[in-house]
């Protein structure tokens, strides 16, 4: 199904690698075959990972008429005609402009990230350095909270928010999303704080700084990479939530972006995937950029201290 692209891509990559590693006396036919198969597998994996993105980008650039006509003919894998009408439509939609949900999502995700970093770095520092009793149990509880079934929480939280008159309001989400972000952020920062040499803090403490001053002026600046990683992961986790948003938000202008996407493109006879996919492309962009720029940090953050 993807052979057209695979055939074009694979030989070029293999040829390049062969030029780099080829040694006349040792090359064997079997090795060449094995390398070729390996690169073929790599190409297939990359295609499976990325081709669906091409497909939604392609679909998002179709007009309503092209979507109604279906895939095929002039609207094949590479359509003969592209338009930005879907992007215009999702922002000028009469029932819901995508701008409101985007702003809501940005507010909630950023606020969650800020709260997470403040709360998690305090706790991480205390767990790493301040010899509190029951640190192990506290850490176990924090990690266990991260495994708590989200769909078991929504009922009681719904009742609480209803009682407080805060249903259909994005601000309580900032607190609720902490269940996604705090466990991993606290764990990550605690592990990083433990690796900072004690001398650094001791110097500041000897000079008469208090613990909190030391934390703010010495430890946090040194821990910036870890703070940055925790912030990126928190932002992604808060940005990606669907379950809480769909349970607590009812009117479309209060929706977060992931929730708003489910309202686009629905009509009686046809689903207009160009509108849905335009919104999908828009909310994918910040995440894709974060991943591409901070790939190493995310990977190290995901795996830091996981195996102990």
């Amino acid at each position: 199904m993807t052979s057209a692209v695979a055939d074009g891509g694979a030989p070029a990559v293999v040829a390049g690698s062969r030029a780099a590693t080829w040694r006349p006396p040792r090359v064997s036919a079997r090795k060449v075959v094995r390398e070729t198969l390996f690169y073929l597998a790599v190409v297939i994996v990359v295609l499976i990972a990325l081709f669906p993105f091409y497909w939604i980008l392609r679909t998002s650039l179709l007009s309503n008429q092209q979507v109604a006509a279906g895939v095929g003919g002039a609207n094949g894998i590479i359509p003969s005609h592209l338009s930005g009408s879907a992007y215009k439509d999702v922002f000028t939609n009469s029932s819901l402009s995508f701008l409101d949900p985007l702003v809501n999502s940005i507010i909630v995700a950023l606020a969650t990230t800020v709260v997470t970093i403040i709360v998690a770095s305090m706790a991480g520092y205390a767990l790493a350095r301040l010899r509190i009793r029951g640190a192990g149990a506290i850490l176990a509880f924090i990690l266990l909270a991260g495994f708590f079934p989200v769909l078991a929480m929504i009922g009681p939280l719904f009742l609480v928010l209803r009682y407080l008159g805060m249903l259909n309001n994005i601000y309580p989400l900032i607190i609720v999303y902490l269940v996604y972000t705090l466990p991993i952020a606290t764990w990550l920062l605690k592990n990083f704080f433990e690796q900072i040499p004690l001398e650094l803090e001791d110097a500041a403490l000897v000079d008469g700084a208090t613990r909190l001053q030391t934390l703010r002026k010495v430890v946090i600046p040194v821990a910036i990479p870890a703070v940055f990683t925790a912030a990126i992961l928190s932002f992604i986790l808060a940005w990606n939530d669907f379950a809480f948003a769909v349970s607590f938000l009812t009117s479309t202008n209060h929706f977060t972006a992931p929730l708003a996407i489910t309202t686009f493109g629905q009509s009686q006879y046809q689903t207009f995937y160009n509108l849905i996919d335009a919104a999908v492309v828009i909310i994918s962009i910040p995440i894709a950029l974060l991943v591409l720029f901070a790939q190493r940090r995310i990977v190290s953050g995901l795996t830091a201290g996981s195996f102990r």
């Binding site: 709360v119 305090m122 706790a123 009681p156 208090t210 379950a243 909310i283 995440i287 591409l292």
Partner: protein, 334 residues
């Protein structure tokens, strides 16, 4: 802030001997350890500050997890349904639980969820391990492969679900467009809303596409901490690729595998977003899972008693899984 001041005042004198010791420790080249406690005052001050610093995270997490859990337990034994707004919240004993266990809808959701979980974790672990081995090799374009694999993981579930819903759409999708080449009738095959098996296939693919990368990245990190000389020793002893994989790689990968297994099992057991977005539980009730039913009961039917009972089962399942894995993967030797 009070704790802060007292620490400074009491703590400093006790610290007098620190730098010299720190210097000696540094010179000796031994890894730095937490210094022995110096005086009770500083200890106590530190500890008090410590509690103040961990308090917010504990209070917040208790409020979001423990409080709903207790509320659920209370609700599970009471009548609480907003659709009957004015009825009192009477104690009903085990009625919510018997209603749940007697409900074929819930029982089949339980079965489906368990089957989905088992199939998913087996498939995801095998493919994830293969991808990890692929990324572990040195080759041109390794960084690109890693980024390409990481992108699906970081996407919101709404993106992966909508993306595959588009791909599987009979009219706008890529899958049927390709299938049409094999059989004309397959050109307009409905996936998510017509047939139970095809709906599950679509959900399964969307879920795996998003979550296998996570397994692969965790396992890759596990592969990278296996020292090379172990492999070398195995090769010296004449081990084949399969033998060294079986006898060296897999055992040393155990911690990474256990972490990936716990995460994936819990995610699969609690699957909701992708179901809600792709199939809405349908066709019929055929793709409803435990989490989906829980959402339905709480938010759509506003039955907080029955929902509470369902939530308790969800929590117990999640706890049981964590417990079993932690027991099974406890390190044999420290």
């Amino acid at each position: 802030m009070a704790a802060d001041v007292s620490t400074g005042a009491e703590g400093r004198p006790a610290r007098a001997g620190r730098p010299a010791r720190a210097w000696r420790a540094w010179k000796s080249g031994r890894p730095t350890r937490r210094p022995a406690p110096v005086g009770h005052a500083r200890e106590r001050g530190d500890r008090r500050l410590g509690y103040a610093l961990v308090a917010p995270v504990i209070i917040l997490l208790l409020a979001i997890t423990a409080y709903p859990l207790i509320y659920n337990v209370w609700n599970a034994f009471h009548f609480d349904n907003l659709s009957y707004g004015n009825l009192p919240h009477n104690f009903v004993g085990w009625k919510n639980f018997t209603a749940m266990f007697d409900s074929p809808q819930w029982v089949s959701a339980l079965q489906r969820t368990l089957i989905f979980t088992v199939v998913t974790i087996v498939f995801d672990m095998v493919v994830g391990l293969a991808l990890a081995l692929m990324m572990h090799r040195q080759f041109h374009g390794r960084g690109f492969l890693r980024a390409a694999i990481l992108v699906p993981w970081a996407m919101p579930t709404v993106v992966s679900a909508m993306l595959w819903k588009t791909m599987f759409d009979p009219s706008s999708g890529f899958v049927d467009y390709i299938l049409a080449a094999f059989h004309p009738a397959w050109g307009s095959l409905a996936w998510v809303n017509a047939n139970e098996w095809r709906a599950w296939a679509a959900v399964f693919i969307a879920d795996s596409w998003k979550n296998i990368p996570f397994v692969a990245i965790l396992l890759l990190a596990g592969l990278q901490v296996i020292p090379n000389d172990v492999y070398e020793a195995a090769r010296m002893d004449g081990a084949s690729w399969w033998q060294s994989f079986r006898r060296v790689t897999l055992p040393m990968l155990k911690p990474a595998i256990s972490v990936a297994l716990i995460f994936r099992t819990l995610q699969a057991l609690l699957v909701f977003d992708v179901i809600y977005i792709m199939t809405g539980g349908g066709p019929g009730n055929s793709t409803e899972t435990l989490s989906y039913l829980s959402y339905n009961t709480f938010i759509i039917n506003t039955d907080f008693g029955l929902g509470g009972a369902m939530s308790i089962i969800l929590v117990l399942l999640a706890l049981a899984v964590s417990f079993v894995y932690v027991r099974a993967f406890r390190p044999d030797t420290a």
